[in-house]
């Protein structure tokens, strides 16, 4: 009998897989983010391209170097750090000095991802930790908003962008207020349609709600994202802001405005949904979303800062293990309620 003197391969069942793969998922997320990036560059000028590039490179380099130093193979192949870098870049003010962009990227990935054990181990969203670090380290720079770039100024780079490392940036004379700050400090509300189209000041990638939603829809359709989280957030924000406005909050916050202003859409669609730091079960995801929505409304209405999405998501990340513990799937055959 001639067959098989070659060795067979053995492995555990199942011997087939669906073909789903982490790198495919992560690449799809970058794809979904591509239109948002393009719009950001269109809206705020070439500076945003620089910011995004530095963000992605600093995140990827941190992870690569850290793995090398630890004697492990590079993990750039799973693409997750590319997603982190891109999302991190999109949450930054368009004119942020590039050296600060790099600092936050190194911190976010180095501390919130690598130190926790890399992909899958980070309890907090690394992109947001990076941003939160910058917000705490350089609050002035992080609340300095450049206005939309006119066609003529498209190729201009704000002076602050190119500030020397460790040096205080100097700002161009013109600044803008984000819709939320304008409402909180000046009492001027921005039109919802303007918010949807993204022609407002704000973080590079947060302004165009429509494109973000489209990217999210793409990921949901490919079953790569749990839609319950953003819907939970939107629901909670809409409901609570309606209730609080009706009850007479410190300033009126119509749901439409609350939903589409600030980083809410970007955060809800792309950042709260980071699978690693969000709960597992669908019920848990609803709760998680509602919690974020609640915190966002509370911080926006009563907190010191105009915007609270970042803090809300980070806090919810910390609660997520408890949600996971409390909400388990109902095991088949366990007593029915």
């Amino acid at each position: 009998m001639k067959i098989l003197h070659r060795q067979l391969e053995i492995a555990s069942s199942p011997h087939v897989t669906s073909g789903a793969s982490v790198d495919v998922i992560m690449r799809s997320v970058t794809l979904a983010l591509a239109p948002v990036c393009v719009f950001a560059i269109y809206a705020f000028g070439i500076a945003v391209a620089l910011v995004l590039a530095v963000a992605v490179v600093s995140c990827m380099a941190t992870e690569h170097v850290a793995r090398r130093v630890a004697g492990q193979p590079s993990s750039l192949g799973d693409w997750s750090v590319a997603v982190t870098g891109l999302l991190y870049g999109l949450t930054l003010p368009p004119g942020l000095p590039l050296w600060m962009v790099a600092v936050g990227g190194v911190f976010g990935v180095g501390v919130a991802k690598v130190m926790f054990g890399g992909l899958g181990s980070n309890a907090f969203n690394p992109a947001l930790v990076g941003r939160a670090f910058l917000q705490a380290a350089f609050p002035q720079a992080m609340t300095h908003w450049t206005p939309l770039a006119g066609p003529a100024r498209f190729t201009d780079v704000p002076t602050s962008t190119l500030a020397l490392p460790f040096a205080q940036p100097t700002y161009d004379a013109v600044t803008a207020a984000t819709p939320l700050a304008a409402l909180k400090f000046e009492g001027t509300a921005t039109d919802t349609s303007e918010l949807l189209l993204g022609m407002t000041a704000g973080s590079a990638g947060e302004t165009c709600a429509l494109l973000i939603l489209a990217g999210g829809a793409y990921l949901v359709a490919r079953r790569m994202m749990n839609w319950r989280i953003p819907i939970g957030i939107f629901g909670a924000v809409a409901a609570l802001s309606a209730v609080f406005t009706a009850m007479g909050a410190s300033f009126p916050a119509p749901p439409g405005f609350m939903l589409f202003s600030g980083g809410l859409v970007l955060g809800a669609v792309f950042m709260a949904t980071d699978p690693v730091a969000s709960p597992l079960t669908n019920a848990g995801c609803w709760l998680f979303g509602a919690l974020i929505g609640f915190l966002v409304v509370v911080i926006r209405l009563w907190g010191g800062m105009p915007e609270g999405v970042m803090y809300a998501i980070l806090l919810a990340n910390a609660v997520s293990p408890h949600i996971d513990r409390a909400i388990q799937p109902r095991v088949f055959g366990s007593v029915k309620s």
């Binding site: 609050p139 002035q140 609340t143 300095h144 600044t175 400090f185 000046e186 010191g304 800062m305």
Partner: protein
């Protein structure tokens, strides 16, 4: 492993326990009291100097200050014990009432901010300002102590009373940096909007309460109580 495990299982007699605790307690008390007595005078002087320096900073003309407080009936009288938010009347070298140094408190970005400001009877304005205590973010919120244009607000911040004499003619309002158009507006600080607005609000609240009272009692306290001298420190 350091030392040897203690193996004595014998219960200690109550006497030994009393003895040890009482002796140690007495010795400790003795030591504390000694140190306290030795440092008391010096600490009191430090405190006095600190407060005097603060009052002096906001109300430089005053040579003599007298703490005052409102009693239950709402009447102003000199205070023997300093209240939580002390108010001092300031008299110049000629013992003439020139102004008052008032403590105010309110929520800032992080926590409560305590400020001391001076009210000038003559100019009917706030003419000096100092942060006594704040937990505002260094480099941001604490710019209210250093930012020149912000301090400039308090060279003469209008605090006139209206016709009734019961409230300010114009409420003190904070505005965004560069938008100050009236003497009763506080020019804010970009990047520290919250803290600077909080200061404006603290001043408004405190001044609305105190300026009417002070103005009403201006005549009563026009002269410095002779023998009292400069008191103002010591809790």
């Amino acid at each position: 492993m350091n030392g040897t495990p203690a193996l004595d299982k014998l219960p200690t007699s109550a006497l030994a326990m009393y003895r040890s605790i009482m002796v140690i307690g007495a010795l400790c008390a003795l030591m504390i009291v000694t140190v306290f007595n030795a440092t008391e005078a010096r600490i009191a002087r430090n405190r006095e100097q600190a407060l005097a320096a603060a009052v002096n900073a906001v109300l430089p003309e005053a040579r003599v200050t007298v703490p005052v407080a409102l009693d239950a009936a709402g009447a102003l009288h000199t205070a023997d014990v300093l209240p939580a938010l002390p108010v001092f009347l300031g008299y110049d070298a000629d013992n003439q009432l020139v102004g008052a140094a008032i403590t105010g408190i309110g929520m800032g970005y992080q926590d409560n901010i305590r400020v001391l400001y001076a009210y000038s009877f003559e100019r009917q304005a706030i003419i000096g300002f100092k942060v006594l205590e704040s937990k505002e973010t260094p480099g941001l919120g604490d710019r209210v102590e250093t930012e020149a244009h912000f301090i400039a607000n308090f060279e003469a911040l209008d605090a006139q009373l209206d016709a009734t004499g019961n409230s300010l003619a114009n409420a003190i309002v904070p505005v965004k940096q560069g938008e100050k158009n009236n003497p009763w507006e506080v020019d804010g600080i970009t990047g520290a909007t919250i803290t600077s607005f909080a200061i404006g609000n603290i001043l408004n609240d405190s001044a609305s309460e105190w300026v009417p009272v002070l103005e009403a009692n201006r005549q009563v306290f026009a002269q410095a109580p002779a023998q009292e001298g400069n008191r103002g420190a010591g809790e």
